[in-house]
Each structure stands twice: as C-alpha cells, then as structure tokens.
Assembly symmetry: C2
Homo-oligomer: 223 residues x 2
C-alpha cells in the first residue's frame, strides 16, 4: 500500500483548482477569505453579525461549507447577503474544486469580499488552498488555550486568529495571553482580534480588518 503518491495527486489537483479560483477572484476584483475553526466555534454566528455590520460599507457574499444540511446558508441568508451552500458529501474539508459550482452562481464582480466558511474542523481544512487571499481561524475560548500546540498547521497557516466567545471568559479556565503566546511561537506574525458575536466586542475591529486586507490585496472598495 502506498498512500503518499495519491495524497500528492490530490494536493496537486487541488493546487490546480486553487490557481483557477485565484485567477477568477483576481479578474473579479474580489477579496477572498477562507474562514476555519473547529465545530461550534461560532463561524456562522459571526457571518450573521458580519452581514449586518457590513451594510452600506462592504458588499460581501458567503460560501458556507458543510458535510450535510444547508442550515448555515439559511441562517446567513436571512440577513440579506448572497449565500451559497457547498455540501462536501462526507469530506472533512472543502477543496478548491468543490467551489466551482458555487462560484459560478455568485456575481463575484459585484462584491468587495467573499468569505468561505469552511467545514468545522481544526485539522484538515488547513491543508487545502482554495485560492483565497487570507486564511483566518477562530479559536473559541471554551476550547482551551492548549490548542495551538496541538493543532499546529491551522495556527501556522492563518494570518488572523479570532479569539471568539470572549463573553464566556469569566466562566471558563482560559488564559488568552498563554493562547496568543503559544500561537505566535508557531506563527510570529499572527494577528489577533478578541471578539464576541453576542456582545459585539471586536466586531468593528473585524470589519476594519477585512477592509484593510481588501485594500492591501485587491484595492479600495467598489462604488
């Protein structure tokens, strides 16, 4: 049994798909983020808050990835942003090819930013380039401060770590300084935003971060 060559084929094919997506994003002038976290860290709730906070400021759309169901897409669509659901059919991550159908149904050229909400998994999604500009991850404070050392690829690949559910800090044993220090041991340039979708803490920082990254990678917003 030789598993390695096949893994390489899969990643080579993904790289080709990612390059195609990247060209598509560049042609449309849209900034694209790949948003990752473990299950239940709050990706979808953050997308709901983001949809509201972006009104009149950034035109966004969301691609929601899940193994099954279109619950996330339905939740986000209520807030008036275009959403496409991608079901991975059992796969534990999104790959670049899975996005093709969803991307063809979105008017990318009308958008400032596209956020791809990956499958809830702190391991596998980090291995698959989707053609995005930035990988962003959420670590919820309920998950424990030991996660960077235990899931190193995710923390190494991310440009930004959102420290989520900060409203629960009084009720859990979580040392934000230790978690941030551990993550920066792996990734010294990692940016961090403390955020609570419930209280609104950090939401303005989050939207400003997206605007700044869009300006840096793509240019100013569209009028």
């Amino acid at each position: 049994m030789s598993e390695i060559p096949v893994v390489r084929d899969v990643l080579d094919d993904n790289a080709a798909g990612a390059a195609a997506n990247r060209a598509r994003f560049a042609a449309a002038g849209v900034y694209v983020m790949n948003l990752m976290s473990g299950p239940g860290a709050g990706k979808t709730t953050l997308m709901e808050r983001t949809a509201v906070a972006c009104r009149g400021r950034l035109r966004i759309a969301v691609v929601a990835g899940d193994i099954e169901t279109r619950r996330d897409a339905d939740r986000i669509a209520r807030h008036g942003v275009p959403v496409e659901q991608v079901n991975t059919g059992g796969a534990c991550h999104m790959d670049a090819r899975m996005l093709e159908g969803a991307l063809s149904r979105i008017d990318l050229a009308s958008l400032d930013a596209l956020i791809i909400e990956n499958v809830g998994n702190l391991v596998c999604p980090a291995e698959f380039d989707l053609g995005e500009h930035d990988k962003v991850m959420i670590l919820s404070v309920t998950e424990g401060a030991d996660k960077p050392a235990k899931y190193p690829l995710m923390f190494s690949e991310a440009r930004l770590m959102v420290l989520g559910k900060t409203d629960l800090l009084p009720y859990v044993d979580f040392d934000p300084h230790a978690a941030i220090a551990d993550a920066r041991t792996l990734n010294p340039d990692l940016e961090v935003i403390r955020l609570s979708s419930r209280t609104g803490e950090g939401i303005e920082d989050w939207i400003s971060w997206i605007e700044r990254r869009r300006a840096s990678r793509v240019g100013g917003t569209k009028d």
Copy 2:
C-alpha cells in the same frame, strides 16, 4: 485520478488492524472505549475526572491521541493511571495500526477498561474502527445544538453521547432537548449523559455506564 480504490485499501487495512486489536482486547479481558469529540470539548478533562472517580472501583488506562505534543498524556498521568500518548504525525484521526505500539506497552490483562481518547475532530475519527467495544462522543453545550445534523456519521456511530460542559448552559443558547432529539433522529438507540467535569454533574452516571458496558461486553470487573 481514482481516489476511491485507495480509500478502500486504507479502510481494508484498518479493518485488519482493528480485528487484531479486538482479538488482543478479548484475550486480555479488557473493555475498550473509543472516545471522540471536536477539539476542546473536554475529553482530557473528563479523563482526569474519570481517573479520580475510578479509584478502588475500576482499573483503567488511557491512550491519548493527538497530532502533536504529549500534553494530554501528562495531564492524565498526574492522576495515577497508566497513559500512553500516540502522536498521529499530522493525521486527523487515529487508525487501528497507530495503536499497536501503545498497546504493547500497556499491561492490558491487568485492566478493567481502556479508554482511547481520539484526536479532536468531529468528522474523520468516526470512520476508523479501532477494535473498540463502544464508540462514545462528547458534544459540548458551547458547540451548538445543530451539530448532529451537520456531522451525522459521528452521531450515528456512537452508542453514548455525553452532553458536556453543562455548567455553561446558563450562558449559551443551547437547547438540550433539540440536540438530543436531532441526534436520536439519526440514532434512535443513542444513550445520553449530561455531564460537567467542573461541577461533577453526571460523573457517577458516567462511571456506572462504563461499569455496565464492561459487564455486558466483557464480564464483571477483575478482583
């Protein structure tokens, strides 16, 4: 590119490894549980509480699976139970073959129960039989009640769902009845224990459950 035959080879090889493990567990008369959850749901903390609660009652050992680090093993070993760490070297789950080294270093015949703490991942571990008697999963109440429908294989494969971190129920939007009903739509026989490692709620139910399953699958405890 044909990915499917290789996936089948991997699962066939795992099935052979699981059969070998199963024979080893039967020969030793040890009950074995495969404990799974998303990252940060509280598996290791539950193992610490279990080590204390089992004293004078059940002789247990733990195999702690992680992509990297031996932090979990160190945390559990402090409580005086034998622990072996398995690092999966990047893999998002444990497979049956990865257990071989750890199993050879544990005196299985001296144990009543062995708990295998899998990698924190709500997707991939559910696909790999380790030769265990029961699969058990933890859903933390901070993860949201929508998880069964979104991660169906895990909830279908488990015999028991531990609803964890119940001490945080007052601070999160989580409907235990909805989560349990959703999980039982997938798996009508699923047993449920509500548990908080912090307050101790459910710990007695949890230890009794292990004793009962051991008696049912292996026989009475060893004297």
